[in-house]
Symmetry: C2
Subunit: 218 residues, 2 copies
C-alpha cells in the first residue's frame, strides 16, 4: 500500500463524520457481495459523491487506496467500523413497546452491527410478560431496578411524548450515556450524555417544504 | 407590529430551513397550551439556541416580533406552516405494512399536520383485506392501477430493501414527486422528485460514534 495524502490523526471534520454511516452501509454491501476492491469513482457514482470528495474523506481513515488499484473493501470497512465504534458490542434497552418500539426491536440490522436490545419496558400492564423479538417486556416501574443492576450503553425511547422527559431523567440519573429518542419533545441532558433524536414528523415537514419550494420554482 | 431587521423575500439559508421543523414543533406546543406570545430568549432556552439566532432566523419569515413584547405565537406558527407547505393537505400512500409501516400509519401527528395516508400496499397476501389505521391494505401488484387513477403527492416506502428500487421506479414513472424512503438502499431519482431518506441504522451509528469519541476524549 502506498500512503498518499493521508490526513490520519488529524481531527475528522463534521461533514466527514456525517458521511461515515453512509460509507459503512455501502462498504458493507460491497463486502456482502464479496467485492474485493472499489475505486473512488465507482463508489462515488453509487452514493452520489465525487471521486475527489471520497478520496479526501478516506484520507482521514488511513491509507487504504493505491493508484490504479482502488480501495481494499475489507480493510476500509474495518477501519470505518473502528472509527464508528462498531468493533465492540453495545448493551441496549428499549422503553416503549408500541408499533415503533416493535419495529425497532425487530430490526435485524441493529443486532448485526452489535447493538443488542437486552430488555424492553412498557407502561401498559397488558404487555407485561409478552415477548418482543425474543426479549421479555417488563413493566416500566422495574426500569430503575434494572438500571441499578445492569450495564446499559444506549437506551432507545419510543414511549409517548408526555412520559419521555421523566424516563430520560431516570436514565441519566442511573448513568446511561447514550439516549436515542423518538418522541417529539426537547430533552435536556448533561454534556456527558450523547443524545440522538429521530423526529419522524420533521422528515415529513422537510419533504413537504422541498416539494412546495419546487412547485413555486417551476 | 414593528418591522425590524426583516429579511423577508431573501432566499432562506439551508441552516434556517433545517430548523423550520423544530420551530414548527415548538410553536405548535405553545399554541396548544394557548400561549399568546413568546420572547426569542424564552424560545431559545427551550430549544437550545441563542435569542440572537432565533431573531435572525425569524427575520426571514416576516416581521412578527415587537421589542419588549416578543413574537405572536399564532401568527408566527401560521407563517412557518405556510413556508413548510402545511396550509394544504397531502395525499399519501404507504408501501410496506410491516412493523415500521404500522408505526408510521398509526402516527397521529402526521394526520394532524395534513398528511393523510389514503392507501396502503403490501406484498404479503395474508395482509390483503386487513385494515391498518382505518386504511385497507391492498396487494402491491395493485399499486400501478392505483397510481393511474389517484393523485399521490408523497409515497412512504417501508418495504424490504430488495423490493424498494423497483417500487421507487414505479412511483417515479407514475409521476409521484415526493418519496420518503426508510430502506437502507441508495435510490436514484430524477431531479424533479424530492427524496427524503430516514436510515435508522445511521442514527444508531452516529450515536455510537459520538459515545466512542467521548470515551477516547475522557
Amino acid at each position: 500500500m502506498t500512503a498518499r495524502n493521508t490526513k490520519k490523526g488529524s481531527e475528522i471534520p463534521q461533514g466527514v463524520i456525517a458521511r461515515l454511516p453512509l460509507y459503512h452501509r455501502h462498504l458493507s454491501e460491497l463486502a456482502d457481495r464479496d467485492v474485493q476492491r472499489v475505486s473512488s469513482a465507482q463508489l462515488g457514482q453509487e452514493i452520489g459523491l465525487t471521486a475527489a470528495q471520497i478520496r479526501s474523506d478516506f484520507s482521514y481513515f488511513g491509507s487504504f487506496g493505491q493508484q490504479g488499484y482502488g480501495y481494499r473493501v475489507q480493510e476500509l470497512l474495518q477501519q470505518v467500523s473502528i472509527i464508528l465504534g462498531l468493533e465492540k458490542d453495545y448493551h441496549l434497552i428499549l422503553i416503549g413497546a408500541g408499533n415503533l418500539g416493535k419495529a425497532i426491536a425487530s430490526y435485524a440490522n441493529f443486532r448485526k452491527r452489535g447493538f443488542i436490545i437486552e430488555a424492553i419496558f412498557d407502561a401498559n400492564p397488558l404487555l407485561e410478560g409478552n415477548y418482543l423479538a425474543a426479549c421479555l417486556i417488563q413493566p416500566v416501574d422495574k426500569l430503575e431496578a434494572y438500571l441499578d443492576s445492569h450495564t446499559v450503553d444506549i437506551a432507545i425511547i419510543t414511549a409517548p411524548s408526555e412520559a419521555t422527559p421523566k424516563i430520560c431523567r431516570c436514565l441519566v440519573h442511573h448513568g446511561v450515556r447514550g439516549i436515542w429518542n423518538f418522541s417529539p419533545v426537547h430533552l435536556d441532558v448533561p454534556d456527558h450524555v450523547v443524545l440522538e433524536h429521530t423526529h419522524l414528523t420533521d422528515s415529513l415537514l422537510r419533504l413537504s417544504f422541498r416539494l412546495n419550494q419546487q412547485r413555486s420554482d417551476s
